[in-house]
Amino acid sequence: MVRSRRPAKRKASRKATKSDASKNGRAAANGQSGPSRPRTKRRRATAESLAAKQREISVSEFFAKNRHLLGFDNPRKALLTTIKEAVDNALDACEEGGILPEVWVHVEQTAPNRYKIGVQDNGPGILKKQIPNIFGKLLYGSKFHRLRMSRGQQGIGISAAGMYGLLTTGKPVKIMSKTGPRKQAHYYEIRIDTKLNRPEIVNNRGDGVDIPPGEKGAAAIAKHGIEWVEVQHGTRVTIELEARYQRGRGSVDDYLEQTAIANPHVHLHYIDPDNNSREFPRVTDELPPEPLEIKPHPYGVELGRLATLLKDTKSTTLTQFLTGSFSRVSPKVAQRICEAADLSTRTSTGKLIGEKVERLYKAIQDTKIGNPSTDCVTPIGEPTLLKGLHQVVPAEFYVAATRPPAVYRGNPFVIEVALAYGGSTGAQRVSREGLTEMLGESDSRTLRQFLKNTFNGVGAEVADRILKEADVGVRVSPARLKPKQIDRLHEAMQSVTLDEGQTMNLIRYANRVPLQFQQGACAITQAVMNMNWRSYGLSQSRGSLPSGPLTLLVHMASVWVPFTSESKEAVAGYPEILRELRLALQAAGRKLSMYLRQRQRVRDQGERRNRFLRYLGEVATAVHRINDANRDELYERLVKMAKRKTSEADSRFDNRGRRIDPDESDFGENVLIVDPTAPANASAPENE
């Protein structure tokens, strides 16, 4: 009985979502009196009985049921999404306020599968009356109605996170905000009323707590048990939720790392569930230039939107409307649009309805209109990208390329690419303790799967090699490894060279926010895979990412990033975007292949030297046997000479025997080369 009722319920609610459209009276199963009389053609429900159940659904209710749309499909992702939304908001707030961002992220385990997340910034703070709305109401925000480059777009994220926390733990969202050193701070505990999409303040009988500035405030903070890092102004949001913390790929650590790369002006403090703190200090003190807000470009406006704009506009004539609501529409362009639409320039906007709007829409598409101004998009910039990447990813060679702005569907955008080559990988850098913890936390069923899922760039082939080297079974469960086996595994991970068979580590960004899921569905991934990396000196099998010790960063900055879903995980593949991606990748690829060629030359030189050294021992021994000369002394002398000889030869000629100018190896400005043999990166496997 129970089983049969369940789908019926769902059907009913789905109907309701379609709102009034479904009154055809297909029966809900509630009235059915069991399977005993299945063939009777009794009406299961009437229009009246259905009408009793038809009512409005609030946004919050909808998202509470469809939380996967917002990125809360599983506990692990929920943790990350919550942190991500909070950090995004924090950074947006700071940048809008013109403040160099400093962000504290604190993840704390309160119970098994339950975590408390605190994220604090030093932003401008939030006014008392706005706090409940921002954190307790879905689709409430400042960013939706404007076209301006920012991380957040809809105003769903943080309140959805709060709602998820409430749903899974029953704990309210705690917010503390302060707008100035001498201003009162406010502390709220808020729960979202999912039925009404309305905040409900819990603490102090619905009033929240005001905290005075200065000494008294400190006492109050202590009294109420508020977590707070003392700053002059800023906001802290604390959410407790059911979650799962896991290291490795797609983890919180990964996300913060990637955020630090793309936002080198941010100082990140991070305390993980094991109470280890990690700092990502800022690399530059320069805030990115403030992005300008623009009006929509006519090409990017759809028919329905156009109708709404017409309805809402304050302008009276069509010309006024066109020039006033869109960018790049001058009176002359407006006139041409009107002519094409066969409408008078002085048509009243109020009278434009139905078929006329359609004509206007068509006319807009057919009229030539200039590209939107592109100064509203602020790329990270090549030097900053290099700094950011260098700070976080240890490698030998870095290159960055920023494309000039381009336009898709009337929205300006910029593609940036940065690439790091060489160096050791995550699998090689991990410590013995870290590995033990990761093994314990992993939900992979086999060790091979664990290696593949946890470490970037470790594919099936490399995983097999590591396991073979470690002499541990492939199908062993990661949690059941004995300490000695872990030792061997750790050693193997350090010693196995990952250069070959290692796939590229691709980090995608949209408006400086790392995209961590749905890599395969993303236009960025498509563009990278469709490029022929072999002509740039990398190996790549058909239709996949290139392999090699590579980290590739791709950033798309736009006033409106076309995501494929609300959880903002993949960029849609407009042809203009794919084209820009390709050009940017090629620019970086060219520099990379230059470097690889040079590196090959250096390696040849080493090879040459080794070849001499190999034979010198034999020569010395032979000579010693004939004339009784001191073998070791002779050997030393020969070695010294060989070194001198090879370096001489190599400085003057390349591998084809041509003379090379020292200038030829000049890479230009957007490149950074780190000597891998420098003591800082002593672990680099160069001198083999």
Partner: protein, 386 residues
């Protein structure tokens, strides 16, 4: 077991030094070897790149001495440098061979060139590379060392594989054993690789000339028919291209006993070349021509006109390959053939025939045609090419 016993003293060889007094020849060779090693030590001390100048062993560095009528080596040398990527390995190998020879002299032993190859072959420390991959890599290095040190192979205590045999009216002493070459049965006296005076002395002879045939099978025919007894001569073969032992012996018979040398070879470019090597010396061993070339050697046959003259059937001919034609033209161009009309005619006729003839083809006439008619007839008519 034996191998190990031979190798182990190698490791401690210097301690043996001076234990045994060396023959004067060995003393000279040894001092040359030490001189070679010293160039490396001195170069290293003076911080110069060590090198060896190896006389070039190729056609370009070979000169036909018209008055002496044999090939001489020119003065061109190839510099082999240790610090040259392409030469480093062969330099190392040269030194290795030198040290191996030094060891042989120290222990007064001789070994085959294959033995030396095994003596020196080992994995280079710290690599997976072998000092020599094949013997083909080792042999040229040995020849290089011979030329460089101006020492003969036997002086380096090396010998090549024995090839070639001798019977005839001569008595020799080989390492003290008296050998009567007229009583050698069907096998003959195997000519050793080293036939210098200190090994082989000629005791007495009654032979009037030497007949050298190309290969073993023909030689058997002549031996079985006791040609050497009926014609009072010495009969040798070199198993194709004669090794230097055979050539040196022919040279000694010719110069010391004043015996003329006649060659009976196949009528093909290869046969011409064998004759050329016996007469003028080889390009590869031009530095030994002085001791090996027999400018007076004569080419008895087979001649390209023998097909008609001996009334052979077309079924015993072998068609010339493109390679043969090419080789024939090269040989016709050699300076020592170029100005000899009979030779030009001979080669032209062969090319014209379009086939080659082996000595064995004469068997088609009669089994002993070659010994009973062909060779005696040529000798009687003094019909040969020079």
């Amino acid at each position: 077991m034996a191998k190990r016993a031979r190798r182990s003293p190698a490791r401690t060889k210097t301690t043996n030094k001076g234990r045994r007094s060396l023959a004067p020849v060995d003393k000279r060779t040894l001092s040359q070897l030490v001189g070679l090693a010293d160039t490396v030590s001195t170069a290293a001390t003076r911080r110069r790149a060590p090198h060896v100048d190896v006389p070039t062993r190729s056609l370009s560095n070979v000169r036909y001495n018209k008055s002496k009528r044999f090939l001489e080596m020119g003065k061109a040398t190839n510099r082999r440098e240790l610090f040259n990527l392409n030469q480093a390995k062969s330099y190392m190998q040269t030194m290795l061979v030198a040290s191996g020879c030094k060891q042989l002299i120290d222990e007064s032993k001789t070994t085959s060139i294959r033995g030396l190859f095994y003596l020196l072959k080992h994995t280079i420390e710290g690599t997976q590379e072998e000092t020599f991959d094949t013997q083909n890599e080792c042999d040229p290095v040995i020849e290089d060392l011979e030329v460089t040190l101006n020492a003969l192979r036997e002086e380096l205590h090396l010998y090549a594989q024995t090839k070639g045999a001798m019977v005839g009216q001569i008595v020799i002493v080989d390492r003290g054993d008296e050998i009567d070459c007229s009583r050698m049965g069907s096998g003959g006296y195997a000519i050793p690789s080293i036939v210098e005076k200190d090994v082989i002395q000629f005791k007495k002879h009654s032979a009037k000339f030497v007949l050298h045939v190309e290969k073993d099978t023909v030689w058997q025919r002549f031996n079985e028919d006791k040609f050497w007894r009926t014609h009072n001569c010495i009969l040798t073969h070199g198993g194709g291209q004669p090794p230097r032992g055979v050539r040196r012996l022919l040279h000694r018979l010719h110069t010391e006993l004043k015996l003329p040398v006649y060659c009976l070879l196949d009528n093909d470019p290869w046969g011409y070349y064998i004759y050329s090597v016996i007469k003028q010396g080889s390009i590869n061993l031009a530095y030994e021509s002085r001791r090996m070339a027999i400018p007076e050697a004569r080419f008895l046959g087979l001649r390209s006109l023998d097909f008609g003259r001996c009334e052979l059937t077309p079924s015993v001919t072998i068609n010339l390959s493109d390679q043969d034609r090419k080789r024939a033209k090269q040989i016709a161009d050699y300076p020592w053939f170029k100005h000899k009309k009979p030779w030009q005619k001979e080669i032209a006729r062969m090319l014209d025939n379009g086939f080659k003839l082996e000595v064995e083809s004469l068997v088609s006439k009669d089994i002993s045609y070659v010994t009973e008619e062909y060779v005696p007839e040529r000798l009687r008519q003094r019909d040969w090419l020079d």
